[in-house]
Amino acid sequence: MTRLAYYPGCALQSMNWDYRESIKEVVAALDIELMEIEGWTCCGATAAHSLDEKMSLALPARNLSASQQMGLDLAVACPMCFKRLSHSRQMLLQQKLSGPWTVDPNLAIYDLARFLATDSMLEQIKSRVILPLTGLRVVCYYGCQVVRPPKITGFEDYENPQHLDRIAAVAGATPIDWSFKATCCGASMGIPKKEIGLSLVKKLLHWAHASGAQAIVVCCPLCQSNLDLYQPEIRRQADADPTTPALPILYYTELLGIAFGLEAILPGLNSHLVDPLPLITQLLNH
């Protein structure tokens, strides 16, 4: 049993409950206990760091400190939260941030997807797969937040990250390399400037399809929302080709949930605007 402190983040509490549920099911299947930080609050995300630097560091620091008191390494589900927490941690370790927060250099912060992509975890995942997704061609979309900046996030292969590809491969799927792994989906731009959000998502969908993918695997709730929620509108645009199939957008944990045969993730899958079930059932029937 692996025990980790857990910071779910605000997105998972509301719109992205499907990610939350799939995490819950998958970690249980992997004998991982995620212990939610007591009384955790928002990490600040984009809103904080675009307004006030001190606040943007203080908000995550508070949560970090709380998790440290649990004496466990910390797993974070959302890439943005992961990055803000890592940033605060670094500032605290370098003594560039003063406040009533403690940080233990021996306790690590993991972004959950990378944690599951370590060699030992992949071994365990492999042993739990009962419905290998053989023949499912996917591209892995990491989004722009999880890799940047490398000094904070610790990525070395930031132009071509691999961890979701590894997870997809171990689940039996065929991950296809493509040039847009970490290209912006528009993030929260979709709200103030929808046309920008739409055009960025459209580009990603186009290239995913051109690469031969049948689905896109993501690790970020906002990316999932953008790629999924805007897809029907984009498919209704005048220049859209109706013959191109829709691309289901799956969290890596949903992918694993399917491969592990966990029915409990079905409600979450059903909540996607682009229904993944026809593709999955077709695949598993073969």
Partner: protein, 1010 residues
């Protein structure tokens, strides 16, 4: 008990046998030092051997480098040790002990004859690193076709015997038992040397897999060196580039500049200096090769700062249609449907983002020192700069921080071939000066033997036909040819040999000459290019004039190219031998001209370059006569306070002046000019005219260091408005605190350079502007400095200062030559108007000071020197060296050398390197007792000469001249034996000795008769 101390040694260890290592070895050998030339790989040649063509002459790289390789191999003073690395160095200058580890080749170099049977039979393939893994080679392999030593090496990681204990096919098939798979232990050697030169070269700095341009990820993204191999005729595709993904011909190719250079994020902020020109060259060759191709270069600045480079770039643009797009790319995207690459860039015409698709992308990746050398650099305790290169010293550019250890080539900073060759010669000069007192004093020259007088004898020819292992004999019937030879007129002896070039065969040949009274020899074997000198020496040793030798190439020109038609090949060989014998029968003994060398040099010009050259010679105990026109030495250096890096040229000039005045081996004439220069290499003479008095002087070599001067602008109100000045004048103002500090300064680059009448770059002006801009901002942080430029050429480590200027707030605005800045004077105030492409705005700036970055011009006095010595000049007035790449410091006329601004605009440390290099080149000549010039020279029949001057005009070396009677005179000491004048002379008055019409006619006729 006394512990024996190591003796002083004048031997030199050169670590790294690329072009720099080879050049320094040759220069040292010419100065009578013995040299150990090491290389980590199985061959000498380095990176230059991988290039296809070189800029700006588009010469074939292999054609240029293989004569140097052969020269190293043949030089009795140079010992080549391959597969070796320097592990440690103990001791002090003059008496070092070097510990060398030599890795096993598994092939005995002394026994190998290069027949390549082992390679053919080897069953195991591995990726060919020489061709950037674009194709494969065998486990036992030659690194490349011209490898020296000409012996293969075994790659044990890929060899079936070493991995699995089976096979040994190479051993079985080797005709000389040279392959020895069981003799494989690394050998540790200790050698005593006086000095060490590090010339370990560079590797490309690539960011694999993780990089934003997809190298190692997208198959059709290749590096510059990979593309170079694709372009090369000896490369994996025979010179026709192919896309790695599908083998298709790439029609649209894009180059991305500054990959892993000028990259602060990766702590590689320096500029790699050569990639702009390399990309332009590759694009030009691509366009030349395939008229339907498209070539686009994506760049930030085009750094064509070398001699004549801008002309080359213009040619690429105007004549070959290479497209230049100024936009730095952040990413390469692969089109999954076809493997094409998509580049998104900023289009300056539409001022919008544009996207284009290309079939292939070439990354102009930057340089870094080869990682393998880093442990050694650390062990030696050398000072490295922040990028890991050996820190170059301003005043002594080839010295490292450790005395007795020198550096040259790309190891102390990215540089191109001419700069590497210059640095190599400079390092040799440094070593020579250091070890001068330990020099053993022996000169190794050719022994003059008494030769048999064959003039009264009828021709008695010996013909020796070579098997060359299986190289020739595998295709051609050698014994039949030997028998055939005996039937030819004048042939009295014929024999066949397995390897005619072996030492045993030389003895046998000498025996045959003696026993049969032979007076002419024909060898039917390989190429005279590599082996003629060897056989000529054999003849000399046997007492026969060496010009009584002829060679028929029945290997490279016969068995190797007609391998599939053995009968036809044998017939062709028969004809070649028939022709060779016919010519041999008409060959005449030729006397070479011997000149006793005067061990003194004349240095014309007492600036930094001239003084440094004189001192470099003087420190080697060679006397230098230094002639300077002005009252003081120092030249331009006297006028400059600080360099960009903060060194003081004035202080250096003063220090050198003092040394020059007091050195026992220098005679300094100031206020003097040299006149009436005459003579030839080894012995020139002239008259020093000084204040009305004439002093006759003679010397063995001449170094031209006539220097340069600033261009005096006529544009932009210079001389008319007090606020308009040059960079030199601004610097002087700042250092002498004259006038108030300006609040707003505008600098305009490329004044007097890169234009129709002077299309060259003056190289130093960008750095001068950056230097002064930084000074201004530091003195007045609230002020503004605008630099209006065409390209910022702060190459090499000077790039750091460009960044510093930007960090300080200097504003750089690019202008196109078609729309230069406009300057007006309104009510006495300056107004500058310029279009800024970055903001797409028209700017109006009102500076207090307008600084013109005016370029460099040669001194006008150079013209009279050129006339006196018949030295070629570019139309811009700089001297033309013998070869812009491999002989930048030599003139085609032997015995005359060049350095400093007289060569081309350059920084002071570059002039210093050139000066020392020129001194090394001159010393190589001056340290010989006498020089022999080749007997293959043109001779004029005085009665036939009709004074038409054709020979004068057609000679590429400017050798023929008209004497007082108007008859052409060709100095045999200077004639290079090319034969052009003999062919062109309409009166047939000129004969090229050793290639007379009678000889050539006989050969042609005999060769073509059945």
């Amino acid at each position: 008990m006394l512990i024996p101390e190591p003796k002083f040694s004048d031997a030199v260890l050169v670590v790294g046998a690329g072009i720099a290592g080879m050049q320094t070895a040759l220069d040292l050998a010419a100065m009578n030092h013995s040299v150990y030339l090491l290389d980590r790989s199985a061959t000498i040649g380095g990176n230059m051997a991988r290039l296809d063509k070189t800029f700006p002459t588009n010469d074939c790289s292999t054609c240029m480098i293989s004569p140097r390789m052969v020269a190293c191999a043949r030089n009795p003073r140079i010992k080549i040790i391959t597969l070796a690395e320097l592990m440690d160095l103990q001791g002090e200058p003059g008496r070092f002990t070097a510990s060398i580890r030599r890795h096993p080749r598994y092939v005995d170099e002394k026994l190998c004859i290069g027949c390549r049977q082992c390679v053919e039979k080897c069953p195991k393939k591995a990726p060919n690193a020489f061709n950037a893994s674009l194709d494969s080679r065998k486990a036992i392999h030659f690194v490349h076709p011209q490898a020296i030593p000409m012996a293969p090496a075994v790659d044990t990681a890929n060899c079936i015997y070493f991995q699995k204990g089976r096979c040994r096919a190479c051993e079985k098939v080797c005709p000389t038992k040279a392959v020895k798979l069981d003799e494989g232990k690394p050998e540790d050697l200790q050698i005593e040397v006086g000095a060490v030169i590090l010339s370990a070269g560079f590797e490309l700095a690539l960011v694999p897999q993780a990089g934003e341009y997809g190298h190692g990820r997208y198959p059709n993204v290749v590096t510059s060196l990979e593309y170079e191999r694709m372009l090369s005729a000896t490369g994996p595709f025979g010179g026709h580039p192919q896309r790695p993904s599908d083998g298709a011909k790439p029609g649209r190719i894009a180059w991305i500049q500054c990959v892993a250079s000028r990259d602060s994020a990766r702590n590689r902020n320096f500029c790699s200096s050569v990639c702009c020109m390399a990309a332009v060259k590759q694009a030009l060759i691509t366009r030349e090769h395939d008229a339907e191709s498209e070539a686009a270069i994506f760049y930030m600045d085009i750094r064509a700062h070398g001699k004549d480079f801008d002309r080359y770039v213009l040619r690429a643009k105007d004549t070959y249609g290479v497209r230049f797009v100024r936009s730095m790319l952040s990413q390469v995207v692969q089109n999954p449907e076809n493997g094409n690459l998509l580049l998104q860039y900023y289009d300056r015409d539409s001022l919008e983002q544009a996207q284009e698709e290309f079939d292939m992308v070439v990354l102009s990746a930057g340089m870094k020192p080869a990682p393998r050398i880093m442990p050694l650099l650390n062990r030696l305790g050398l000072a490295l700069n922040r990028y890991g290169f050996v820190e170059p010293d301003f005043e002594q550019p080839s010295n490292t921080s450790r005395e007795g250890v020198f550096v040259c080539g790309a190891l102390d900073g990215p540089k191109d071939i001419p700069e590497s060759v210059t640095g190599a010669s400079a390092a040799a000069a440094g070593v020579a000066a250091l070890l001068a007192e330990y020099r053993s004093g022996e000169t190794v020259g050719e022994e003059v033997r008494s030769l048999r007088d064959v003039s009264k004898e009828a021709p008695r020819i010996g013909v020796f036909v070579c098997h060359c292992g299986k190289n020739i004999a595998g295709v051609i019937q050698v014994e039949a040819l030997r028998d055939f030879a005996l039937t030819l007129p004048h042939v009295v002896a014929a024999e066949d040999f397995l390897f005619t070039c072996s030492t045993q065969t030389q003895e046998r040949i000498k025996e045959l000459i003696r026993d049969n009274g032979l007076n002419r020899v024909v060898v039917a074997a390989c190429s005279p290019r590599t082996h003629e000198p060897l056989f000529r020496e054999t003849l000399q040793q046997a007492g026969i004039n060496k010009y009584l030798f002829e060679m028929a190439n029945i290997r490279d020109q016969c068995s190797w190219v007609h391998g599939k038609e053995p009968e036809a090949a044998t017939e062709k060989a028969r004809q070649l031998i028939q022709g060779a014998v016919a010519r041999a029968s008409l060959l005449e003994p030729i006397e070479e001209v011997v000149t006793q060398v005067v061990h003194r040099a004349l240095v014309i010009g007492g600036g930094l370059a001239g003084m440094t050259a004189a001192l470099a010679l003087a420190d080697q105990e060679i006397h230098a006569i230094l002639v300077e026109k002005d009252a003081q030495t120092g030249g331009m250096a006297r006028e400059i306070h600080h360099t960009l890096e903060g060194h003081s040229p004035r202080r250096l000039a003063q220090a050198l002046a003092l040394r020059v005045k007091t050195h026992r081996n220098i005679t300094l004439y100031t206020w003097a000019e040299i006149k009436a220069l005459s003579g030839g290499p080894g012995h020139f003479s002239g008259i020093v005219e000084r204040k009305g008095k004439s002093v006759p002087v003679d010397f063995g070599a001449i170094i031209v260091a006539t220097g340069g001067q600033p261009y005096v602008p006529s544009e932009y109100f210079y001389g008319l408005h007090p606020g308009v000045m040059t960079q030199l004048e601004l610097e002087n103002r700042l250092f002498t605190h004259q006038g108030p500090l300006p609040h707003t300064t505008v600098m305009i680059q490329c004044i007097g350079s890169r234009r129709e009448d002077f299309p060259l770059c003056s190289r130093i002006c960008c750095s001068a502007a950056v230097k002064n801009a930084i000074l201004l901002m530091e003195k007045n942080p609230a002020g503004s400095v605008y630099v209006l430029y065409r390209d910022i050429r702060t190459f090499g480590f000077k790039e750091d200062y460009y960044k510093r200027a930007r960090d300080l707030g200097v504003i750089f605005i690019k202008y196109e030559p078609e729309a230069p800045p406009e300057v007006q004077v309104e009510d006495g105030a300056l107004e500058v108007k310029v279009f800024d492409p970055a903001s797409a705005m028209h700017l109006e700036i009102k500076p207090e000071i307008l600084v013109l970055s005016s370029g460099v011009r040669p001194r006008p006095e150079a013209v009279s020197i050129a006339k006196m010595l018949k030295l070629p000049m570019m139309q811009e007035g700089f001297f033309m060296e013998a070869h812009p790449k491999l002989s930048p410091l030599d003139f085609s006329s032997a015995g005359i050398f060049l350095c400093g601004l007289a060569h081309s605009p350059r920084f002071m440390e570059e002039s210093l390197a050139q000066a020392r290099g020129a001194a090394a080149r001159a010393a190589g000549l001056l340290l010989q007792k006498e020089i022999h010039t080749s007997g293959v020279v043109a001779e004029v029949n005085r009665e036939r000469c009709c004074s038409c001057l054709t020979c004068v005009y057609c000679c590429p070396y400017k050798v023929p001249s008209m004497d007082a009677q108007g008859i052409s005179v060709i100095d045999p000491r200077k004639c290079q034996g090319c034969g052009i004048c003999a062919a062109d002379c309409p009166a047939k008055a000129i004969t090229l000795k050793h290639y007379t019409d009678a000889q050539m006619a006989a050969q042609t006729e005999a060769a073509s008769s059945r």
